[in-house]
Every structure is written in structure tokens, then in C-alpha cells.
């Protein structure tokens, strides 16, 4: 269970500066696939970074299974990021000096988890369809392939939570669809809690729940299986897609 309590983040400390995230309180149950939507600057990526412990909140706290990560020291938070959370970035953020295989292995090189036999990397490579390109430098891979490497890297330590910041944002529709299918399969097969930031309503509709943000605040929330039951939401979402 991920919980945020009155979570706020202000980047510019000058008086009167608007917060990037403003008193957001959310509860994300284990195993749920949540999409966070919103326009650029709505604070959705900052919220994700706060949940991952990559940024310090200005106020409020993030709890994972009841433990406040804000209370953890740098080392404990690094361990949490490494062992319990997988992170997929929009721009892949792969290490250019490593091969696809070594990029996937990188989180384990940080030493928090006992290294597993090499086949687990190979099975992950097979799962993302890159077993033949495992020794290639990541710069030699296509955008879709790079994102699949990033997803495999996020999964190498067997996390319970997968955070994805616009994972399909830099991909064409075919690759975006493949990545999305992969995330859904992971949720079903591994029971992962997935929190995905997206500005694309079609992508968001594949999640269990949509959290819409505006100006750093949660504007509205809905479960996607209720959308058809609510003509109002369908109309609003359609308007959003067109807008």
C-alpha cells in the first residue's frame, strides 16, 4: 500500500511561489494499476518522484506499507528504491556506457541484493524480447527497445512497486502499445503495484484507476471500470482526449 499524506513540494522557495505538488493525499492499494494524468506542470511527475523517494517533500509524507520514507536516512531510502521500487523513465535513462544486459544488471551491481544467477537477466531479456540484443550498447537500440530494457532493469530486483513516468511518451504507437501490454502482463503475473504518469487518456484507460491532477492538486479520481457506468466521466474524458 502506498499512501501520501498532505504531500507538498515547492521547488522555488521564494514567497508566493506555487507548489509543484500541493497537499496531495492518496491511497494506492497493493496490486493496483494507477494512472496519474494531467497537463504539463500539473505536478504528476513530481508526485511520482516523491513517492519514489527521489525528491524530498516540503511538507507531508509518503508511506509504503505504513512506513514513512521521509523518516528514512539516505542509505535506507536508497535501499528501498533498489529493492522494493522499480522506476521507468520517459527518457529511458539508461547508462550509455553499459550494454543492454549490463544495464538490466546495474541495480544489482549496487550491492543491496544478493546477485542471482545470470539466467534471471536472460529470462528478463527474453520476457521483453531482447535476448538477441543483450550485448548491444543501449545507444544502438531503438526507442522501443531501450524502453523495454528500462522496464527489465526496473524488474531485476523483484520490486513490489513499479513507478513509470510517461513510459510510452517517447514511443511510436506500436511500441507504446507493446510497452503497455507488458506493464499489464507484469501486473497480472507478478501482482505489481503500478503507478504510471501519462498525459494520454487512451493509455490511462488501460489502468485500474485514474488520478487526474491540476496545479499540483488531485482534481478527480475514478476507477476505469466505472467509466461506462458514468456518462458524465465518459463525456469529460472524451473532452479531455479531444482537448
Amino acid at each position: 500500500m502506498i499512501e501520501t499524506r498532505a504531500l507538498s513540494k515547492v521547488y522555488d522557495t521564494a514567497p508566493g511561489s506555487p507548489p509543484a505538488v500541493d497537499a496531495v493525499s492518496l491511497k494506492i492499494p497493493s496490486g493496483q494499476f494507477t494512472a496519474i494524468m494531467g497537463a504539463s506542470g500539473s505536478g504528476k511527475s513530481t508526485l511520482l518522484y516523491l513517492i519514489a523517494g527521489l525528491a524530498e517533500p516540503t511538507a507531508g509524507e509518503v508511506l509504503i506499507d505504513g512506513v514513512s520514507i521521509s523518516s528514512l536516512g539516505d542509505t535506507a531510502r536508497a535501499r528501498l528504491r533498489n529493492t522494493r521500487i522499480g522506476f521507468v523513465f520517459q527518457r529511458f535513462n539508461l547508462l550509455g556506457f553499459l550494454s543492454a544486459r549490463d544495464n538490466i544488471d546495474a541495480p544489482r551491481l549496487l550491492g543491496w541484493k544478493q546477485r542471482e544467477p545470470a539466467r534471471s537477466i536472460d529470462s528478463l531479456l527474453a520476457a521483453v524480447g531482447l535476448e538477441k540484443k543483450r550485448l548491444k550498447k543501449v545507444s544502438e537500440l531503438s526507442s522501443g527497445e531501450q524502453q523495454r530494457v528500462a522496464i527489465a532493469r526496473a524488474l531485476i530486483n523483484g520490486p513490489e512497486i513499479l513507478l513509470a513516468d510517461e513510459p510510452t511518451g517517447n514511443l511510436d504507437s506500436r511500441n507504446a502499445e507493446a510497452v503497455l501490454d507488458l506493464l499489464l502482463r507484469l501486473k497480472l503475473d507478478l501482482g505489481l503495484t503500478i503507478v504510471m504518469v501519462t498525459h494520454n487518456p487512451e493509455v490511462a484507460l488501460r489502468a485500474d484507476r485514474i488520478v487526474q491532477m491540476k496545479d499540483g492538486c488531485v482534481e478527480r479520481e475514478l476507477m476505469t471500470n466505472e467509466i461506462e457506468l458514468s456518462p458524465e466521466w465518459t463525456r469529460r474524458l472524451a473532452g479531455h482526449i479531444q482537448g
Binding site: A52, L54, R81, L95, G96, F97, D102, L110, G111
Partner: protein, 368 residues
């Protein structure tokens, strides 16, 4: 971590090689100077020991480096010393340093007594002095100075003809008759008396007797047992050499510090995003610190290894040009290289490593 450090280094091979070469050149400077000074010193000791004497008597406060002493002892003293119980033979030797072409010690010897003390020369060509202005040279001297039997040497503005070539290892490389050198420097005087102790007598007992000789006439003289010579001749025997070596060591350390600092600082600035990625993947500040310090240590380790390789290459080149020189690198110098390399790695890598560890993941990931 080692794998990641190594990959990070290998990702910028030119930067890595340049850093390694710069580190190795700084260390090489110290190694060559230490190896050369030590080699020359050891060769001097070896050559002095090779004389075959058991004791060496010099005026007070004389240098153990033969050739640097003054010719102030009366030659007659050598004859008197032979009367001391336990002394088998003694030979007076005048010394001079020639500055022609290169620094070279010249011995003025009395061949019969020199033979009694040292066992005499092994002649490779020619034979003993054939006149007052004749000289003996050793086979190393013939090779390095391109002289041969019959060649003329200019010593103290006088011409000496080479009458014999001898096997090296008898103290000096050039020998002239004692009386001739005395006439040019200090008549009736010598700089050192070599003493052969009789079989069955102990060196220290003879030294004691020599100090008491003729009511303590020699008590202020410097009497050295040749077996102790190697421990007495150190870098401090050469005026300023120790200080010079220290300066070189400090310079090598400072250069290494700057090289490491620059290489890693540039890397921290250039790889801000990668640092953010590592932090996002779960690298703690401590890990980042270790990663960069590890990289600094690896660079210095490789640089130190390369400096040793370059030392042997330099040695081979120098010896091919100056065969009379000697190199001897003590193990302690190699250990010093490792200490300097590691110390400069830690000091030079500390700030860049701190910068890397202090990077906030979110800020680093946003870095373009």
C-alpha cells in the same frame, strides 16, 4: 561495484589513458631519480668493497664516497700501520675527481702495496704502469669513453698514456702512479689508506689497536670496516640528494592530485545525468563516494603500474646511451610509489566524489 567502476573508466578510454600517462610520468620522475641515485651509490659501494681491503683509514670527517676526500694524510703512515698487530698490509691511495667529460674518481696507487692489499689487478690488455705518466683503466671505462691501449688521457692538464686495461671493480676506473698524482696535487700525501687484516685477526680488534696506535695518533681518524660500508653510504652521503628526492616526491604527489582531481571533476560535471540515474536505481551517497574514490584509486593503480613499465623502458634507453650508469630500484621505492599514488587518489578524488554523492537524484535527472 568494481565492474561498474571499470566500465565507467573504459567508457572514456582517451580520458583514462591520458590520466594514466600523466600520473605515470609524475611517478616515473621519482622512480628514475631514486633508481639512478640508488644504483650509482650501490655501484660505488660495490666497487669500493671490491678493492678487497678490510679497513679504510681516512682523515676526520671524510666522505665515504672515495674521490671526494682530501689528500692530507702522510703516506709514511701506511708503512707505520703495517707494524700494528693484526695488520697484514696497508696501501696509501691519493684520490682526485676528474671533471673532464663526466665526474670520475681517479686513484693514485702504489702498485706493489696495492697488490698486497687487494690481490692485484686482472689485466685484460697491456700491463702495469710503464712510466710516471701512464694510466690503467678498467674495461667499463674503455667502453664508455671509447679509449684503448695506448690512448691518451688528460688528467689535471697532463697527458697520460693507457698502459693497461684491467677488470673493473677495484674502487676507481682510472689509476695512475701514486707519486705522479701526489706531485700534481699534494706531495707526500694521500686521501685514504686501505688495510688488509691478517688471517685470524678480527677487524674490530685491529680497529681498536689502530685507535691506540702511537699513543692515539690515529684516534681522530676515520677508520671504517669495509663490511659496514653499505650501511654507511646512504643518500644522505650525497649533499642535498635526500632533499632533492623529497622535492621530487612532493611534486609527483601534487601532480597526481591535480590530475586525479581534474579527471574526476570533469567526469562528475559531464555525467551528472548518469549519476542521477545511479541514485535513482538505489545508489546511496556512500556508494557514490566509494564509486568515485574507487575510480580514482584504479586510475592511480594503473598509472602506478604504467610508471613501473616506463621505468624499465627508460632504464633500458639510458643504459644503451650511458652504459656506465647503474639503476637499482629498492622495494621501498615501489611501495612509496604505491603510497603516493593511493594518497593522491584519495585526496584528488575526495571532492569530485563528494560532489557526485551530494547530487540530488531529481536535479541530476533533470540535467541536460
Amino acid at each position: 561495484m568494481f565492474k561498474l567502476t571499470l566500465r565507467q573508466l573504459l567508457h572514456h578510454p582517451v580520458r583514462m589513458l591520458l590520466s594514466m600517462v600523466m600520473i605515470s610520468v609524475a611517478l616515473l620522475l621519482g622512480l628514475v631519480i631514486k633508481g639512478l641515485s640508488n644504483g650509482v651509490m650501490q655501484e660505488k659501494i660495490h666497487r669500493t668493497e671490491g678493492i678487497g681491503a678490510d679497513l679504510m683509514i681516512q682523515p676526520p670527517h671524510s666522505s665515504y664516497i672515495l674521490g671526494l676526500g682530501e689528500n692530507v694524510m702522510p703516506v709514511a703512515l701506511a708503512q707505520k700501520i703495517t707494524e700494528v698487530n693484526g695488520v697484514e698490509a696497508a696501501t696509501p691511495t691519493a684520490t682526485n675527481v676528474s671533471f673532464t667529460n663526466r665526474l670520475e674518481a681517479i686513484f693514485g696507487i702504489d702498485l706493489p702495496s696495492f697488490k698486497r692489499v687487494t690481490g692485484g689487478f686482472e689485466y685484460l690488455q697491456g700491463g702495469p704502469f710503464s712510466g710516471p705518466y701512464t694510466a690503467l683503466v678498467d674495461n667499463v671505462y674503455t667502453r664508455t669513453h671509447h679509449v684503448h691501449l695506448g690512448s691518451t688521457l688528460n688528467i689535471l692538464d697532463h697527458h697520460f698514456t693507457v698502459s693497461g686495461v684491467v677488470e673493473h671493480g677495484k674502487g676507481a676506473r682510472v689509476f695512475v702512479p701514486l707519486k705522479t698524482l701526489q706531485s700534481l696535487l699534494a706531495p707526500g700525501k694521500c686521501a685514504v689508506i686501505f688495510v688488509k687484516v691478517a688471517p685470524g685477526s678480527s677487524d674490530s680488534a685491529v680497529v681498536e689497536r689502530l685507535h691506540k696506535f702511537e699513543g692515539g695518533a690515529l684516534k681522530n681518524y676515520q677508520i671504517t670496516q669495509m663490511s659496514e660500508l653499505s650501511s654507511l653510504i646512504t643518500t644522505s652521503s650525497f649533499l642535498g640528494l635526500q632533499q632533492f628526492l623529497l622535492v621530487i616526491v612532493v611534486f609527483a604527489g601534487v601532480i597526481n592530485f591535480l590530475v586525479i582531481f581534474l579527471a574526476l571533476y570533469v567526469q562528475v560535471l559531464g555525467q551528472t545525468r548518469e549519476l542521477g540515474i545511479l541514485r535513482a536505481l538505489g545508489a546511496s551517497r556512500r556508494y557514490m563516494l566509494r564509486l568515485f574514490l574507487g575510480e580514482a584509486c584504479l586510475l592511480c593503480l594503473f598509472g602506478g603500474g604504467l610508471s613501473l613499465v616506463l621505468y624499465f623502458v627508460t632504464k633500458a634507453i639510458v643504459l644503451s646511451i650511458y652504459p656506465a650508469l647503474h639503476f637499482l630500484l629498492p622495494t621501498s621505492a615501489v611501495l612509496w610509489v604505491a603510497v603516493i599514488a593511493l594518497a593522491s587518489a584519495v585526496l584528488g578524488g575526495a571532492y569530485p566524489a563528494y560532489r557526485a554523492s551530494a547530487s540530488e537524484p531529481i536535479a541530476a535527472l533533470a540535467y541536460e
